[in-house]
Each structure stands twice: as C-alpha cells, then as structure tokens.
C-alpha cells in the first residue's frame, strides 16, 4: 500500500502544493489531473523518490521512502517502481533492447527477462536493434512503457503518457499501460491534463490538483 501524508512542496519559499494525502491500495488506480504548472510532475517525482518533499511522509508497505538512505531510495525505485516519464527519459544512443537491458541491470535480478515477449507486447519486436534516436514519438512512448514494466514493478507511475499523441496512438498507449498493470498486478498512478485519458482507462480514484 502507498500512503502519502501531508505532502507539500515549496519552490523558493513559494508553496507549489500542500497537504496532499493519498492512500492507494494494491492493484488500485489513481488518476491525478490538473492544469499545467500545478505541480503534477513534481508530485510524481516526489512519489518516485526523485525529489524530496518539503514536508510530509511517503510510505510504501510500511517503508518510509525518504527515511531511507539516498542509495537505498534509488535501489527501492529500481526494484519496486516503474516510471513512464513525460519526455520518456530513454538513452538515445542505445538500441531499443539495450534500453530494456540497462533497466534490468539496475534491478540486479537473476531471473531471465523475455525481452522479445515484452517488445512484442508493445509492438517493437522487429525494432529491437534500432537506436532510440531513430524511433517515432509513439514508438518511444511504447518503449518507455515497456521499460517501466520490465522488472514487474509493484507500483507504476506515468506522467502525461498520451498528451503528445494522436487519438489512435493515445488509445494504444492507454490500453498498453492498463494491460501491463494488470499483468504485473501493479498499482497505477497516472498524471495527466489530457481529458481523453478518462475515456480510455477507468480509475478507482481521481485526485484533482489546483483549480480546474
């Protein structure tokens, strides 16, 4: 279970958001919406252990995330969380397959990873040896999703996964995220200001940030 208590974040003394409380049960979904600049991406960074909140506490199954040493936070993120970043954060000089392999090497798992199956599920099986720099936006988005789920995470965070895509590709990505979450039995936290997403995925909870 993911519990956030009284999360707030200040930038240069200005409050970006405050008193955010969340409670996400296993295999449940949460949609966080809100207009641009309200702090959605910052909240995602906080939830993933990338950005420490100004105040508040985040616990994953009784583990106080920001009470862990910094190295352990990185390791915890690698082993338990899958993140699809808004700008993908893929390594452009690596091939499609290498991007998955490097993600697996961070997890330090001993089980063999069926890269072909994963890439097949996201429709990139025939592009495994192509460098990321040569992929289209939709393909990069699919690879980012595949990478987020490669280690069978318990919690998955997606930041604006459909906002730069057309309806057809947005539909493909939304279905992919939903299917992969179900396959991994992961809780899904999706952050977007894209109103199409609610028609594509049914969420157990919705949190609205800022005035909309």
């Amino acid at each position: 279970m993911l519990i956030c208590e009284d999360i707030s974040f200040d930038i240069d003394g200005q409050k970006l958001f405050s008193n955010i409380n969340l409670n996400i049960k296993p295999q449940k979904d949460l949609l966080i919406t809100g207009p641009s600049g309200v702090g959605k991406t910052t909240l995602l960074s906080i939830l993933c252990g990338i950005q420490k909140p100004t105040t508040g506490k985040i616990t994953y199954n009784s583990i106080d995330l920001y009470n862990l040493p910094e190295n352990k936070i990185d390791e915890f993120r690698g082993k338990n969380l899958g993140v699809v970043f808004q700008n993908f954060n893929l390594i452009n000089t690596f091939t499609v397959k290498q991007n998955l392999e490097i993600a697996v090497s961070a997890i330090d798992t001993k089980k063999s990873i069926p890269f072909f199956n994963i890439l097949d599920r996201v429709g990139l099986a025939n592009k495994s040896h192509i460098k990321v720099a040569n992929l289209s936006i939709g393909e990069k988005q699919r690879l980012a999703v595949a990478r987020a789920f490669v280690g069978d995470p318990k919690w998955v965070f997606c930041d604006e996964p459909t906002s730069s895509l057309d309806d057809k590709n947005a539909n493909i990505i939304a279905n992919l995220i939903k299917e992969e979450s179900l396959r991994c039995k992961a809780s899904l936290v999706l952050i977007t200001h894209d109103s199409r997403i609610q028609t594509l995925i049914k969420f157990s909870k919705i949190l609205k940030l800022g005035d909309e």
Binding site: C48, I50, N71, K72, I102, A103, A106
Partner: protein, 366 residues
C-alpha cells in the same frame, strides 16, 4: 600514459642496471695502471671492456709496480684480439680468482694457446671444450685472423652476471706468442689491475705513477662515479620529461572523464531513475578511469620492459655493457602502484561530480 610509463621504465631499468653492472664488474679493484691517455677510457677498456685501450705499457715496468710495497695484488691483462667480437684477454689465473669464477666444465689454461671462455661466449658462439677457434686482430671482428695459431677451448665458466661472461681468457704467453714477441725486454701488456694493501695508498700511489713514469694510474670508483654523474644528469632530464608526460596523462584522464560525464549527464540521471544508486554510478565512472589507467600503465611497463630487453639483447650481441638480469621488479611495481594511486585520486573528481548530481534538475534541464 603509455609513453610516460615506457620512458620512465626504461630510464629506471637502464639507470639502475648500469649502476649495478658497473659495480658488479669491479671486484674491488683500487686502481688500473696503463698507458697515458684518458683515465676513464683506461677504466672502461680494462675493467668493463667497453672502450679501446689507451695503448700498451712495458711489462718490465709493470713488474716493478707489481713488486711495489703498497700493492697487495696486481693482475696484468693484455688486449688486442677478439673472436666474433668477444674480447680475448691475456692474463694470469689470478684473474679467475679475482672474479671468483667457477668452471662449468674443463680446467683453466696450463699452456699457451689454451683458452677459458665465458658463459655468454659459449652460449652464443657454441664453442665447447676441445674445440678450436681462431682469434681476429683488433677488438672488433675485422676478418684479419691469426689463422696459423688457433686457440683450444679447455674450460667454460659458469655465469657470473659480470663482464667475465663475455670474455675469452688465456695466458699472457698466448697473446705474446701470437704477436711474435720473443724479446723479453719488449714484452707489453695493456694494463695492470691493482689492489692496495692500504687504502691510504689511493692518494699517494697514483701520484707516484702519474708523475714519475710514462704510465697513468686511474681509480675505477672515481672515474665511474664521474661517468654516472654525467649520465645521471641525462637520466634526470629523461625522468623529468616522463613525469611531465605522466602529469599530462593524468590531466588527460581527468578531462576525458569530466567531458565524458558532462556529455552523458542526462544518461547518468536516467540510470539513477532506473535504480542505479549514486555509489553504483560512482563505481562505474571510477572503473572506467581506472581501466584506462591500469591498462595504460601496464602496457607502458610491458613496452618499457621490451625496450629494456632489446637493449639487453643487443648488449650481448654487441659485447658492450652487460646490462645484467632484471632485478628491479619491486621498483617497477612500486611505480605502477604510485601511478595508479594518482590516477585513482584524479578519477575521484569526476566521480564526486556524478555522486552529487541532482537527477531531477538534470532531467528537467535536458
């Protein structure tokens, strides 16, 4: 880095091996008496068998020196011929005792035209006991041979690690017979190798010889230390140069790594988001730097050793200075350790930069 380590390795090996060789070749001799000329040339030709002799001296006059009360021992040597560039030295059996030489096989010479050969001579010329060989006139092989009077090998010496390994020893009579010197008053030798009874003679005796006769007395330790001082300056310049190259190599590693992580800072931040800890990235960057350093320094040492071995090989073939065997592995290992410790410290700079990287701001700025 490879170039720096290669130069420094060769410099150290040659410097130390040269010192060791000069020291080994002199079995405690206090002076060498020979014809007037350069005292260093006399020492190099009579003890180290590098240079040509300054000339000959009368054996009659030399005998007077042998009998001088200040002299504990005096060994005459006569140079002039060679076999395949190995010098043939006419002397007496005390020469063998002087170098504490032992025979692998055979005996010492007992009559003229018998020879005892050094270890390297036997190895390279394939001469064995009871084999005959013909000496050539001069100290290098010119082809002008004394074909009418061949030498017979009667003994082969054990390896000594000194110049003795590269010499062919025979009696003085052999050399005189070969050069048809029959008049006892006209007998000549190249030089006398002396040991004093008392070290205080090292001041008075040379003066006596240098001023009172047409000969000169030279001190091996004094002349060789003068030579080493001269070559030492050259070595120091080479050492400074190699240290400069090393510093440039360290800076090269530093800037390469800094540039590398600057170009890859986005990728490194991505790796952090995937679960690579700060320490893991720190160790990856450190490993990259240390692989460059360890490979560079090891290849440099190997190159240096190859250059040294080549010089050693040519020193045998050319019968010049016997460089001796490699016995400075500890020094080289120490240099290797020091170089890699400095490289390790240098690598910490980019590693700390990676360790302190703020992933969120890096990703946002990218």
């Amino acid at each position: 880095m490879i170039v720096g380590i290669t130069i420094i390795t060769v410099s150290i090996l040659v410097n130390q091996v040269t010192k060791e060789t000069f020291s080994k070749n002199n079995p405690g001799l206090d002076a060498v008496v020979g014809a007037k000329g350069s005292p260093l040339q006399l020492i190099l030709s009579s003890i180290h068998h590098i240079d040509i002799p300054t000339g000959n001296i009368s054996y009659k006059n030399a005998r007077k020196i042998i009998k001088h009360p200040a002299i504990k021992s005096a060994i005459p040597i006569s140079l002039g011929d060679n076999f395949q560039n190995f010098r043939i030295v006419g002397t007496n059996k005390s020469f063998l005792k002087l170098y504490k030489a032992n025979l692998i096989s055979g005996t010492a010479w007992s009559q003229p035209m018998q020879a005892v050969i050094g270890y390297n001579v036997s190895k390279i010329t394939k001469l064995k006991i009871n084999k005959f060989f013909v000496g050539s006139h001069g100290l290098i092989d010119t082809g002008d041979v004394h074909g009418e009077q061949p030498y017979k090998v009667v003994g082969v010496l054990k390896k000594t690690g000194t110049i003795l390994d590269n010499l062919i020893l025979t009696s003085l009579d052999s050399v005189w017979n070969l050069h048809s010197v029959t008049n006892k008053d006209k007998l000549e030798i190249t030089s006398l190798l002396l040991k004093y009874k008392n070290k205080t003679s090292s001041f008075s005796f040379p003066r006596l010889i240098n001023k009172g006769t047409n000969m000169q007395a030279a001190s091996p330790s004094f002349e060789i230390s003068k030579l080493l001082k001269l070559t030492g300056n050259a070595h120091r310049i080479v050492d400074y140069l190699s240290v400069l190259i090393m510093i440039l190599s360290f800076l090269g590693i530093l800037f390469t790594l800094l540039n590398n992580i600057n170009e890859r800072k986005y990728d490194l931040a991505v790796l952090r988001t995937l679960g690579f800890s700060r320490w893991k990235l720190f160790s990856i960057i450190l490993s990259e730097g240390m692989i460059i350093s360890i490979l560079g320094s090891t290849i440099g040492l190997i190159f240096g050793y190859i250059v040294y071995e080549s010089m050693y090989y040519f020193s045998i073939v050319g019968r010049s200075l016997e460089l001796g065997q490699l016995s400075f592995l500890n020094d080289l290992f120490l240099i290797w350790i020091i170089v890699n410790i400095i490289a390790f410290i240098t690598c910490l700079v980019p590693c700390i930069k990676v360790y302190k990287q703020n992933i969120r701001s890096t990703l946002l700025n990218s």
